[in-house]
């Protein structure tokens, strides 16, 4: 039943295989293990605790932490990309068209105006695809780890709230040494979020 060391090499021939086996660890020397265990707990009792007293102090959140999705309303062009890429169908967008006054003889331009932008956080799975795909830097991850509502329906947050959360968005961070961005920027592809923010 047990496999010997020599058999081991035969069993997986693809690669050189080094194995370890429990061997002596199983043998019992009565009492030593019990005393060692007591020593470990006593040592920990005499060293300071490592926990953070949560409501009073909270561990710092890293800049990429996925807390809430904030909307920079001015940047949104109602392109619907985020709503389409969302796996959970939890982004609701409504907008209308407006024409800009012609300036200096130029032709009047039509552009989209955002009327409603809502995210249903009850459905959201915090994957961040919407932030990733947004081509105009309108969506950001903000840092917030303790927001909650009394009712599921209230978890659908509208534009005002999402705008407010822009204040929770941390500044962009530097990348690790050696980072060179995507290999070759795909022609029409959205660049990765981190790089994008760094440039912003």
């Amino acid at each position: 039943m047990a496999v010997s060391e020599s058999q081991v090499d035969e069993l997986v021939p693809r690669q050189e295989l080094k194995t370890l086996s429990p061997g002596k660890t199983k043998r019992t020397t009565f009492g030593i293990g019990l005393i060692k265990g007591l020593g470990i707990t006593l040592r920990h009792m005499l060293t300071p605790a490592v926990t953070v007293q949560y409501p009073d102090e909270s561990a710092p959140l890293p800049p990429r932490s996925r807390g809430i999705i904030a909307l920079k309303e001015e940047n949104c062009t109602v392109c619907m990309l985020c709503a389409r890429e969302c796996p959970d169908w939890c982004i609701y967008i409504e907008g209308h068209k407006e024409a800009r006054e012609s300036v200096g003889g130029k032709r009047a331009k039509k552009f989209n105006v955002l009327d409603r932008f809502a995210i249903d956080y009850a459905l959201c799975m915090y994957c961040g695809i919407c932030v990733e795909v947004c081509p105009y830097d309108a969506l950001f991850w903000g840092q917030l780890d303790n927001y909650s509502e009394h009712d599921v329906t209230q978890l659908t947050h509208e534009m005002e709230q999402l705008n407010q959360w822009m204040y929770q968005v941390p500044p962009p961070e530097e990348l690790e040494i050696g980072a060179m961005g995507p290999a070759v920027k795909p022609a029409a592809g959205p660049p990765a979020a981190g790089v994008e923010k760094e440039g912003a």
């Binding site: 429990p22 265990g37 890293p62 990429r64 592809g189």
Partner: protein, 386 residues
């Protein structure tokens, strides 16, 4: 209404009616779970007991079936990577890797070297996180409440390294076909190294606190022995299979990413009992720490994602791609009909096969052994049910 257990009066009355006052014995059917501390999650085990001895034990699954395979068919691969991590929530990143590998092989995408290194680093950190969780919870199941707290202490640094890079603590969603979502931020390498060093310093404590403990040995050595042939027949994989003495590890048997460039060992148990499985788990953490160390110190400069078209349309075909999840062999069988969404995506999760062998191990064990067996089968219910 019939009672589960006859109360004093009823029993005496029945005995008198039956004309004899002698005590009779009968087997008792006990439902363990779906809400029970030993099944961490919603696994249910129906056991037939003869006193404290288990005559028959059958796991009942499905309490957490979320229909991942159906959901996969409605999503493209960027969305799928985010869904994959929800199957086995303790090793999210390891779940995403084979899905991406499958797409990369089908589309013949090239993954930059830096991305591969980072994938290995994060997959191994994730493996350590997963193993720490199970070393802790196994102690908890045997009544030792302290190891789990130490395990969480060690988890914290590595967990925050992962959080620093991906923004998530459980569901990373960091792997993309062709590379990674983005490059890691500055400070990741330092933080991860610190986490690894702290872990390496703490592992002797785990070994002394539980593995060296005579009570622990009494509870685990010779308990829940899994025969290697039975394990193979049931497709058991991961630390459990290796605990039974079979050195099958996808990282060595069919190297993916660049695992063949790193120096690490495969810990293998000798007789497949709960102790061996636990031992394998602890040793694997050491080995993973070695891999992470090598990869971190050797991390090349470069891109985090290869040349990937904006819209991933998968060529027609089928592929079976697997990887070594912390809990065993995780694979996806993907059938594509040339669309962005897979036509069929079967997830072969390790816990499913691992748990299906449990009835054989429960037979003849005591109720407390059941806890030791289930605890050392290292399963995540989301991974069984998908």
């Amino acid at each position: 209404m019939s009672t589960l257990i006859p109360t004093t009066d009823r029993w005496l009355r029945e005995a008198r009616l039956a004309g004899d006052a002698t005590l009779r014995t009968e087997e008792m059917v006990l439902n363990i779970g779906p809400q029970h501390p030993a099944t961490h999650g919603v696994l249910r085990v129906v056991v037939t007991l003869d006193g404290e001895k288990i005559v028959e034990g059958t796991p009942v699954v499905g309490y957490m079936h979320r229909g991942h395979e159906k959901l996969f068919e409605q999503r493209d691969f960027r969305q799928i990577t985010n869904l994959c991590s929800r199957m086995d929530w303790l090793s999210g990143l390891n779940n995403e890797i084979p899905a991406s590998i499958a797409v990369e092989r089908l589309m013949e995408l090239e993954v930059p070297r830096r991305a591969t290194y980072l994938r290995v680093i994060m997959a191994e950190i994730n493996r350590i996180l997963n193993h720490l969780m199970f070393t802790g919870s196994f102690g908890l199941e045997l009544g030792a409440t302290t190891p789990v707290m130490y395990a969480f202490r060690e988890r914290e640094l590595l967990q925050s390294a992962m959080e620093l890079a991906t923004g998530g603590r459980l569901h990373f969603g960091f792997i993309r076909p062709g590379g990674l979502k983005e490059d890691v931020p500055r400070g990741f390498v330092d933080l991860a190294l610190r986490g690894i060093r702290q872990l390496q310093k703490a592992i002797p404590d785990y070994e002394d606190l539980l593995m060296g403990n005579e009570i622990f040995k009494a509870r685990t050595v010779g308990v829940g022995v899994l025969d290697p042939d039975l394990a193979l027949e049931y497709g058991v994989s991961g630390p459990i299979l290796r605990g039974s003495g079979i050195p099958y590890d996808v990282r060595k048997a069919e190297p993916y990413l660049n695992y063949d460039e790193f120096d690490f060992n495969i810990p293998v148990g000798t007789n497949g009992d709960s102790f061996d499985r636990y031992w394998v788990l602890i040793q694997e953490m050491k080995e993973s720490a070695k891999i992470v160390e090598q990869a971190l110190l050797d991390l090349p400069a470069g891109s985090h994602i290869g040349q990937v078209p904006k819209r991933l349309t998968i060529p027609k075909g089928a592929i079976w791609a697997k990887a070594e999840n912390p809990l065993g062999e995780l694979g996806y069988y993907i059938v594509s009909d040339g669309e962005a969404k897979p036509y069929r995506m079967k997830a072969r999760t390790p816990s499913f096969n691992n748990i299906s062998v449990v009835p054989h191990m429960l037979r003849g064990a005591y109720v407390p052994d059941m806890v030791a067996i289930l605890g050392s089968m290292f399963f995540v219910v989301g991974d069984i049910d998908r």
